[in-house]
Every structure is written in structure tokens, then in C-alpha cells.
Homo-oligomer: 226 residues x 2
Amino acid sequence: MMLSDVMEDYLKTIYQLQREGDDRIRTSEIATELDVTSPTVTSMLEKLEERGLVDREKYRGVTLTEEGKTVALEVVRHHRLLEAYLTEHLDYDWSEVHEEADRLEHHISEDFEARVAAALDDPDVDPHGSPIPGADLEPPTASDAESVTQFEEGDVVVVEEVADHDPEVLSYLADHGVEPGVELEILEIAPFGMITAQAIGADGPVSLPADVARHVRVASPSGVEH
Amino acid sequence: MMLSDVMEDYLKTIYQLQREGDDRIRTSEIATELDVTSPTVTSMLEKLEERGLVDREKYRGVTLTEEGKTVALEVVRHHRLLEAYLTEHLDYDWSEVHEEADRLEHHISEDFEARVAAALDDPDVDPHGSPIPGADLEPPTASDAESVTQFEEGDVVVVEEVADHDPEVLSYLADHGVEPGVELEILEIAPFGMITAQAIGADGPVSLPADVARHVRVASPSGVEH
DNA sequence: TTTTATTTTTAGGCTCACCTAATTCATGTC
DNA sequence: GACATGAATTAGGTGAGCCTAAAAATAAAA
């Protein structure tokens, strides 16, 4: 199937939004994410429906079909492999790779994908701890990690994934020790959702505004319930 | 200046055609090269002229302005750095890199360019022996190499550049020892322009049809006149 | 020089992905 | 159940990059 870059972007976006909980994805969510207007999204969703890539119920959003999911997974695989490669072999910092990968992900061949995967020895996760879909394009099995916002003061957790994309935010987090694999103690949860935490090994505490915290996914150490 | 991929392609094409001798580049040459129709080229040339990237004399072709040349050199630099990188670090064969580089060249950042150049230690030529424009984007100085078609039977020459792009042709040439750096003895020149030659170290002779030979650029060993 | 052939440009149209403005639908409130 | 509110869709339009067909300019031949 010959898809435009733009269509791939819509499918990827729908996939990512689906991952974040919701089942049906609404027009306006996609519009916000891709920074276009709602009518633009509506007409694109019609085209994606015609091609059998989304199931659409007028006025109440879309879900990906199996085929649409496969396309999205391919794009996500490209994106995360590129992020991993740039970090590993071209000396990029994890905070810088997103934008570059976003532009390249639509323009690499299957061959390139395979060579990059081989050079990295088929990694499971990208530098942000996000799972890289396998070459079979099966959906990666959901990890047991949850958003750090689900935990409480005093809990100690292990950072599994930092799904934010803003380079400045990521730099800040890295500077304060918040990276995949690090242990985090939750010191305080403010009423407006801001979390203050201490990363093991870091100089001082780190503050996570609600919208940043939402992207920090963590697990209890060794499967302890919280 | 914000240029579309397509505009970059036109400028690159004009630059390459200019390199191959002609001064003014005609509408039809560009059309053939980019596989579009003449009217399409005409209207694009108008746009490039408006933007000050080409000098146009109606009905008799275009030349690049300094600014247009700079853009073209940037694209060519991207292309050739990518070819070199793919060959050097991702195990591509020189016959395979062109197409991949052609798609990626428009989508890499300045930062990516710099990192790739650093990883390769600022190479002068790509795997086909074509010069890589420097980061300053000055036109590379013309080498003393000429097309092998300019030589005669019995001449011994050194291959400097193989500017063809067809993977099959390049594989054939590599199989018969025709690669940059190799010495070549011209055995026979047929009336219809086909050249038969023997590469030092290769099993048997190699036949270069006229349109292939044109792309094989060679120099006399140690500056001997021919 | 006139005619013919070739190349380029003009004219008019198409599709894609976007937009704004106006309308219709869905939903929660009285 | 009627009504207000917000979200989604329809209607109509734009620019980029492509096309075909027709006209004009250049170059070559008679």
C-alpha cells in the first residue's frame, strides 16, 4: 500500500493516542496533536476509512483497523530504531533524537530498517524506554509500568519510560537523574498534581509538573504492590 | 530560505547537468532527468527564478545563481555524505546507496550532517569517487579526471569516479574490478562507442557500453599526457 | 527566404492536504 | 422534552506540483 507521509503521521498519532488509554480517538484530539484544524482531520479520516485503515463512526471518532495498526507500528518501529541508532552511534543525547527521527521515519527503506536493527542488535526499547515494535509488527506487550501520577508520597519506584518529547524537559530530567532504570522516591504530591521526587544518585530533588509527570512511567521495584 | 523537497531536487538536477559540461540547462533536459513533463519544468523554473535561485532566459534555459548553487551543493553534500556513511557504517554496497541517499538527503538536519561528517572524519569523496562538497559549500575544484571515452586503445588509466547510479550497472562494474582507484587498460574501442577494458587484478575484461563509459571518469597515471 | 520540425511556453485542469465559515449533531441541563 | 453548548461535519476555497492540448518561438532544412 502506497501511503503518503501525512497519512502515516495520522495513523501513528491515532496509535499513540490509543496507547494512552482511550479507545475511540476523537477528531479534535488528532487535530491538536498534529496542529491542524478539525475539518482537515475529518476529511483525512474519510480517506483513511476508504482505504480500510480506520474504523469510523461518524461524530464519535475512529479506531485503527488491524491494517492501520500495522502501518502505525511500522512507523513507530522506524522512529524508535532511529532514536536508538542516533543515540548509540551518532552521539546524540536522548533529549535531541525525537525531532530528527520524526523527519526520517517516513523515508527509510525496509533494508535500512533491517541494517539499523542489526547494528543495534535488535533492541527492545528506545532511549526513552519506549518499546520498539518487532520486525513482525505485532503490538508490543503492555508493560506493567504505570504513570508516576498513580503512586503516592513515600513510594519508591523504578523509572521505565519517559515518553515526553520536549528536548528542554528531557534535558532537565536527565540533569536531575530521571532516566529509564533509575530509582525514584516520591517526596511530595502537591494538590495541583505536581510531584516532587528524589532520584537515587542525583544531587537534589526534581519537580514534575502534572503534564510532565503523566509521561513518566514507572514500576514498583520487583513487583511490589502499591 | 524554506524550500520544498521538490525545489531542492530541481536545483540539484540543474547543478549535476551543469557539471556535465553544458552551460545553460534546457527545460527538456531537466524534464527527462526528473521524469516530469516540460510544462511542469517551465512553471517550476518560473518559481525558482522568482526566488532568485536561477537565472532564466525564456526559451533558452537556465543557470544557477550563486544562491541556487549553494542550495544545490548542500543537497549534494547531504547525498554524498549519506552514501559514504551507509557504505562505511551500515554495511551497504556502493551499488545500493544511491536510492537510499536520494530519499534521505532532504530530511536530515544540519546537526545530523555534522555528526555524519565527523563519524567519517570529513571525507573528500563518496564511494563512487565523487567529490563531497565541504561544509563551506564552495564548489569542489574540478579534478583532472576525464571521461574514459576521451582515451584511446592501449591507454592505461586510473579510475577516479564512477558516476553511474544504476545498481545493476554498478554491481557489474564492481564484479569486473572497475572501482575508484583501480588501473584500467583500454583494449578496444568499438565504432559505436563501446569500450572493452581490462582492470588490473580482475579475472577478465569488462565491456562498457557508450552510456556507461561516459560515467566512468579516469586520469592518466601520474599525470602523463595522453 | 520560406517551410518544416523541434522545443518551449501558455492555457486550463486535476489531486492532495490544508484553511475558514456555516451548519449539523451529540450531550448535558433545566 | 426543549435548549444551550461544544464538537464534528459540510461547503467552498487556496497553493503546490503535476498533467494534456494548443499556441508560440526557435532552429534546421529546403
